[in-house]
Symmetry: C2
Subunit: 135 residues, 2 copies
């Protein structure tokens, strides 16, 4: 008997969830947010090793969640589809947990993206005003 809730229909969705089932990957997605981030930026912002970040970026890319753009030595990652943020927000809401999405320049990162916006660091708490979105 055929069922609309087929196994094959749920497999790709479960695969997506499986990819999202690793905390550092969520941190990466949220750190990228609506913007763009290079590996070195994520490294500085999240405090993980370079290879560690790269490995998870690869996993997210293979899940078609990220796209890349190379600019010189830097590789910039951005969300392939921002609706992934809605998925995260909804999951967070279910747990009564707000999910903050943001891109914030990091002092330790020397990439052009951070360099141009680095003035913001002069503020006492630069993160406060920059929160783009809470769901």
């Amino acid at each position: 008997m055929m069922n609309i809730i087929s196994h094959t229909a749920t497999v790709p969705i479960s695969a997506l969830f499986q990819t999202l089932g690793v905390a550092p990957r969520l941190e990466i997605l949220l750190a990228i947010g609506a913007g763009e981030a290079c590996v070195c930026h994520l490294e500085a912002a999240l405090g993980y090793r370079q290879a560690f970040i790269s490995q998870h970026l690869m996993a997210l890319r293979e899940a078609n969640l990220l796209e890349t753009r190379r600019e010189g030595r830097f590789v910039y990652y951005r969300l392939a589809d921002r609706r992934i943020l809605d998925v995260l927000a909804q999951a967070g809401a279910l747990l009564g947990q707000a999910v903050a999405v943001q891109f914030s320049p990091v002092a330790a990162c020397e990439c052009p993206n951070c360099a141009t916006t680095k003035v913001a660091r002069l503020c006492p708490d630069p993160l406060i005003g920059e929160q783009e979105r809470v769901a």
Copy 2:
């Protein structure tokens, strides 16, 4: 430096995704949908072994996604929060995949829930008209 995107904030969300990263569990959640289902129903509807179903039900329960109600020999499972269906729907939408939620009586299931609605089986394809929700 403190970051709004903290590791501890993403851990519970990733744990939720990890729980959802198994296809049969999604099948179970969708089979329950807005209704209620006993193990024997899921067994018949999805075609898995009893212990298999039970094990995944336990995982979903430990993730606080399901609640139970006992009625005689039968234990009925229902969603603890229907917003989980929105999470599934959004994930499905991201993949261009419609997610159908439904509870349909199954001939092979003798539980009261199925017995009372079993008349519907007389239709050539009882599943068609019963699709409750597509997102």
